[in-house]
Symmetry: C2
Subunit: 491 residues, 2 copies
């Protein structure tokens, strides 16, 4: 196994040469819109991927034909199981393979004979095992596919997720469509994103887990999402690239069209070793990588948390390059710490602009000269002046570029009218969001309470904020980090 990361063969700085992609995006468009799908290695055992794929297509409401295939025949979820691809007396556009790796060469032949456009291979145990015979089999697989004119997604992947089309690989992925396109070498990571952040609006136009990426790879999918009108922002989890020059070209083109955030796995020697056993990717040197991603006009993320927050910020906040932040809704300690973190990350937290000071002095003379920015909610308490009103004044002020608002739900919980308080503040933040032209981040902590009522109130508040298109962050820290990164990116 060649150990030199192919990415390192890049000479930087690169002059990007615009050239024709090896296939038209329309090839991928057909693959994302199959009229019929055969699941080869389908199973009636609910604890198998061969069942998951069949059930997912049903659950997600896929509108084309579904053909489960298994030599044993029988039925799965009320559908006839075909004994072979040949036994299907109709066209098959996409094959999903759940068979053991020893059957894949034959499967490619059978697929070609049926006119199949692409085979999505959940089937693994290829080069990622590090074993010579498995590496050899992978090579024969790609040779066979090229010879037969069949495209491959994977192997060792979960494949396509396209809620609007009814395509999914597990029933418990989110069925909600959203503005984010995603490409991932890891199926599990895509799966985690749905589970942990769907409630925050991290929802996909189209996504793909492409595993070892021996044929269709990161560049193909990037090129496709760059021109996909339903995709407003692109995220990527990449362990290694097959062709560094082509990738940078695709990344640069995509980043010209819409924001792109890339999370790189295999940045260190331990990560690289792990990546080799995961998708057989050869990871690139981190500094070169980061420089290249920045030069292409994309954003680098370091963790899944960063990636999630940046995508949500890009998808749901107005763009803006100013750095003067104002915050409302937090108590004293939190306000002090927020000011610290902002300044440490390159934002500024100026004193209240004069126009806002004047409005406060008019409404509550008592607080004039005491209230500062961040606006300490506990100082406002009982004054008759609410945080949301101050937020509106801050929005109207030319002295402020960025708005950060904290729901402050813990404080409401202890009050007799908790639900009304939380409702009121979320409604007011939604009003501000509808009017503002500035980047606006809202903080609402996870609905992470053993108490069912608190969980319900927090969950419903989040649902309302997200449905109204607001960018919701789980902590002040994460909101500030995102605002700081995006201010840098937009400038």
């Amino acid at each position: 196994m060649e150990r030199c990361p192919p990415f390192l063969s890049l000479k930087l700085p690169v002059t990007y040469v615009v050239r024709m992609a090896e296939q038209h995006p329309s090839d991928l468009d057909a693959i994302f819109h199959p009229r019929s799908i055969a699941i080869v290695g389908a199973s009636a055992n609910p604890n198998t991927p061969g069942y998951d794929y069949v059930q997912s297509l049903k659950t997600f409401g896929y509108g084309g034909k579904i053909y489960p295939v298994n030599p044993k025949g029988g039925e799965i979820l009320g559908m006839r199981v075909y004994e072979s691809l040949q036994a299907i007396d109709a066209d098959v556009d996409l094959v999903i393979s759940c068979v053991p790796s020893k059957f894949v060469l034959e499967l490619i032949e059978d697929s070609a004979a049926r006119g199949v456009k692409a085979v999505q291979m959940f089937t693994g145990r290829f080069s990622e095992t590090g074993k010579p015979d498995a590496i050899d089999l992978e090579q024969r697989l790609i040779d066979k596919a090229r010879e037969a004119g069949v495209r491959i997604i994977g192997p060792n992947c979960m494949g396509l997720l396209y809620p609007e089309m009814g395509l999914s690989f597990r029933t418990d992925m989110s069925q909600k469509s959203g503005p984010i396109g995603f490409i991932s070498q890891s199926g599990n990571l895509l799966f985690e994103l749905t589970h942990f952040s769907d409630a925050r609006g991290l929802r996909f136009s189209k996504a793909v887990s492409y595993g070892n990426g021996i044929d269709l790879n990161e560049s193909d999918f990037l090129e496709y999402l760059a021109t996909d009108s339903a995709t407003k922002t692109i995220g990527a989890y990449i362990e290694g690239v097959r062709d560094g020059r082509r990738f940078l070209q695709a990344l640069s083109q995509a980043a010209k069209a819409k924001p792109v955030v890339v999370l790189k796995g295999g940045r260190t020697s331990a990560g690289e070793r792990t990546a080799a056993s995961h998708t057989a990717a050869l990871a690139g040197a981190q500094k070169v990588w980061e420089a290249a991603v920045a030069q292409a006009g994309a954003l680098s993320a370091q963790t899944v948390e960063d990636l999630t927050d940046l995508l949500i910020g890009l998808a749901y906040m107005k763009p803006g390059s100013g750095r003067r932040l104002a915050m409302v809704g937090a108590g004293g300690g939190r306000s002090v710490l927020t000011a610290d973190l902002c300044e440490e990350l390159g934002l500024s937290v100026p004193p209240l602009p004069d126009d806002v000071e004047e409005k406060i002095a008019e409404k509550t003379p008592d607080l004039a000269g005491w209230v500062t920015n961040p606006v300490d909610q506990s100082i406002l308490a009982g004054s008759g002046l609410g945080g949301a009103r101050v937020l509106e004044w801050l929005d109207a002020s030319p002295g402020i570029d960025l708005l950060l608002a904290n729901v402050g739900e813990p404080w409401a919980f202890g009050r007799p009218n908790a639900e009304a308080l939380i409702d009121r503040v979320t409604d007011r933040f939604i009003e501000v969001a509808a009017a503002t032209k500035k980047p606006f981040a809202v903080v609402l902590a996870p609905s992470d309470y053993p108490d069912a009522e608190r969980w319900r109130m927090t969950s419903e508040a989040r649902e309302k904020l997200v449905a109204a298109g607001l960018a919701v962050f789980t902590s002040v820290e994460r909101a500030v980090r995102t605002l700081a990164r995006l201010a840098e990116y937009r400038s």
Copy 2:
């Protein structure tokens, strides 16, 4: 107002001079164990602090006498309201003041006349307003208290939280006792800690919000918690210190007795300006501060998230200074990213030690040489070898110092037997935790689901893990950051 932070007057490096504290810790012990409490400014209106204090003492089961005081008389929660302190015909140990600031001088006189040991002042609007007359009043307040021999907690504070004694300032603070002592210049911050992290075991032996700290201050409380046997770990949120030399001495003494984590507010000019309006603290220069905290043997935290995670790690993980980490339970992408983050933060993620490799080869020959560290859960799937078994082998191996285990609950949700799967993995992690002598961190994401069943399963799993004394982190990233910081601290 003097603008030069008194902290800067310190000459570093400091030779710590052991000297007698100005009062014996036993003074504070009496204040933490009042036999009777009068709430002056008590109110029957549930939306006031004067009600909260009375209700909190009842709810928390405070065993001493409670005397609500208000010139209007009447009843609150079935208790007689006294028209004045003088009207109480019994000893009063502690007074909680909710009256406007113009009444505080008289209150001190009345308290002294009643033999009160300390007055805890929720009452605010002193030097934190920045107004000359308020600053002057604060000075007269401390002069009066010293003259009268009455100690002050605050002003502008929430005061004591001591669940075992039944002391609290809001009913919705956690009633569960724990191993962590906490001192905070911000009441809201203490409040947030309970709300956001009680479920993770961030529970207090004794805590205090001390606001402006004009009499009893950070050094007094640190000295007290250092010798408090119920306190195993100390956390502090500090905006400014009154006497830098005494503080460093107290911090150093405390850190010799037990781990101390300090979060500093007012690190930047914007934070300092905000701190002035919050507790009138004059913040110290950050570099000097950090050096001094490190020299005293304590840990610095930068955010509330850091502070929370460090306290949980210190309270619930075994100590250990080795840096070789092993992880089980995550999928491929997550494993790669974890290895990266570990190495970037100074931990090492070695390949599986030979003794573990041998056990894997014996049990599942197919996986030998493919499975690496971190142990990719998706490779183990269907092999008959579970992640918890590998974790036990890693625990037994001399080649590994730190254990990190991911519950992986999203993967379980989609399975028909989700609850049994999550139960099984948490039980197995609890078994490993009971046996291990190594630092062991568990990752379970927030129970942050709009779906009630998922919320319930996650909440119950967390409750079980925390009840068994495990250190639970909300993300792999946060667990790794904590393990890295604590490995550095312990070495």
